[in-house]
Subunit: 243 residues, 2 copies
């Protein structure tokens, strides 16, 4: 049975401040939990699971699993429809040292919608992008909504929060490709071996300061009349062409 | 001042049944409202706007605009942060007769997340896709969340709800490209002049029955470890390569 302090603690992890203090995050649902357990670099702190799910698992760390009822899961879940299991994990640990050479990395100038950020991380995971550098004003990647939309990509993709202008100054030897509405048409860019793909805010785009630091602007050719594309869709399209 | 019956009526339009009976939908925020007013094929029924927004408009149909306070807008808005103006519009009217020849159309086998559906319509709008055929179990394109994520694409892209298997039987001369995880790699497909791009459900993919009717399966090459891509991102990537 869940005690009140447990419920309060789990609910408190919806706040960034508490997640940061504890160094943990929450994930929900069989698919993402099973992938996180398999990923290896995110230590499990505690699972709260319905018996039906527990019965289906071949291996589980017994000392970190608590059986809960559907009603109890409802109390601790942040989902509209809680899904069998909720887990608290330590934030993933990545090898020290940041490698930007001979690969493509992503930089996000203030992507604020949690669903967009999560979908971008999932997309990075698909295309083998290992590093996403976010401005400090971006959504927190350990926000439960972001975690859910990454589909466990959060365990494989390293997400950093930096002052982007300083970061680019410190890595001035790496080319920066900025996604804009008035750049080189994407098909003309061709494959890219090394660089940072810079994606802007959902409504404001990329800040003038960062645009000035870009090596090249790149644009997805438009055929119809939409004013812009969703940030995650644009990221996916550009990655699919340059990777 | 808004009267109680107005508030109730606007709130009731969050339900599909009521929207269908009335033949209207709700959109919010200056950007989408201004685009809808400009699009022309969605007649305005009524605008509820804060004075600050009204002052900025050069032209407005005076008989269909009611000034509201921020507090009143809050009562009728479905957004967390209401944004100056809410409009009720008649559903868009498109020319009769469906053209699938010499163009690419989209077919969605039960995309259920409103944000995904809206983002797909926005993406169709960007790539000049004029028709999206949804299974009857898909999210309703006039759901307020969908409307918001289409970014006014709803006025330019025709969205139909059909029995997909019958539809494909009735249009057996149009090639069908199914997005799957085990098809022809996308770069090998090349440009497509005519066809229906078939996208599956967020977790179940494309139904077996529809897969059997596909002319060709197509796959976005994977480099990393993600199990799948978000449905809207996958749609955008495939469209960007074949259009």
């Amino acid at each position: 049975m869940l005690v009140k302090t447990q419920v309060k603690y789990i609910q408190s992890l919806s706040q960034k401040k508490l997640r940061d203090e504890e160094g943990v995050f929450v994930a929900e649902g069989p698919k993402i939990i099973e992938e996180l357990l398999a990923a290896g670099n995110t230590d499990l702190v505690q699972l709260y699971a319905e018996n039906s799910w527990i019965q289906q698992q071949a291996f589980l760390p017994q000392n970190a699993v608590q059986t809960v009822t559907a009603a109890e899961l409802q109390r601790i879940s942040s989902l509209h429809t809680p899904n069998q299991v909720l887990g608290i994990f330590r934030k993933p640990v990545f090898p020290t040292g940041l490698v930007l050479r001979n690969k493509i990395s992503l930089m996000l100038d203030t992507v604020q919608d949690p669903g967009n950020l999560g979908t971008i991380v999932r997309c990075a995971d698909w295309f083998g992008i290992s590093t996403v550098i976010c401005s400090r004003e971006s959504a927190d990647v350990f926000n439960p909504k972001v975690v859910q939309s990454t589909m466990a990509g959060i365990a494989r993709v390293r997400v950093l929060y930096e002052d982007l202008a300083s970061f680019l100054q410190n890595h001035a030897d790496i080319p920066v490709y900025a996604a804009t509405l008035n750049g080189t048409p994407l098909p003309k860019l061709g494959a890219v071996k090394e660089g940072i793909l810079l994606i802007g805010n959902e409504s404001k785009g990329i800040s003038e300061e960062l645009l000035q630091m870009a090596t090249q602007k790149v644009t997805i050719p438009k055929i119809g009349q939409a004013e812009s594309l969703n940030a995650a869709v644009a990221t996916g399209i550009i990655l699919s062409h340059i990777v």
